[in-house]
Symmetry: C2
Subunit: 120 residues, 2 copies
DNA sequence: TTGCCTATGTATAAGTG
DNA sequence: TCACTTATACATAGGCA
């Protein structure tokens, strides 16, 4: 997405990594903001920079969404709600080095998997 | 980002909202994956669809990052680490209806604010 | 619908001063 | 280095089969 194509792999030059991190993180936060506005979604994002510094984004609020995710009980008789009750769909995929064509196909397949109407 | 420009505001047509949510969420997850690979960042994303269904993305792992964020104690003498110890930088901004020019300026200002070298 | 296409809007890598 | 621009790659809204 710039003047030249950058392969999706670890940037070894610290300055480039820093600039790239800054720009892309803001890009992601912006997109998350748009998603929450346009679709009424609730979103929490936690990012640790390579240096270990944390940045967060939340809509309506980071802790509201994180607590909801962790099923923290809303003070109902001291009863603990277990984490295992969660039923969310996880995406832990890592983008491998693929040529653009295969990359596109893989992304479309992921969309397909997640588009089963009953999930929404 | 499509054939026509869509204002960043709530989509009222349910089908459009669903399709937009699906496409954009996958886009955000893809970008998050790229950020973690290219910059070595740790990322956790939790999204609740308008219907209340949860989707998550994590690198290296959603719970690893979320637990780190919440400073969950690693079993050190039963001592509780308080949430208030956190020192992350929060972005709870909401993108308002701005003309593209002002929007661009606002984004640059955010980048600027977050670009102080000692934070990284 | 559902899966895919493509025209166009956006994000961003490198350039510039 | 920094603030800003620009060329290019990428994401996506609506179209279509």
């Amino acid at each position: 997405m710039g003047k030249i194509k950058i392969p999706i792999k670890k940037l070894e030059i610290p300055n480039k990594r820093q600039v790239c991190f800054s720009k892309r993180m803001m890009g992601i936060f912006k997109k998350a903001s748009e998603l929450s506005i346009m679709c009424g979604a609730e979103i929490a994002i936690i990012v640790y920079s390579p240096a270990g510094k944390a940045f967060t984004f939340g809509s309506p609020d980071i802790d509201f969404v994180v607590d909801k995710y962790q099923n923290i009980p809303v003070h109902i008789n001291d009863e603990k709600v277990q984490k295992s009750w969660r039923s969310e769909q996880k995406y832990n995929f890592i983008l491998r080095e693929l040529d653009p064509e295969k990359k596109h196909i893989e992304m479309l397949k992921r969309q397909e998997r997640s588009k089963q109407a009953d999930l929404w």
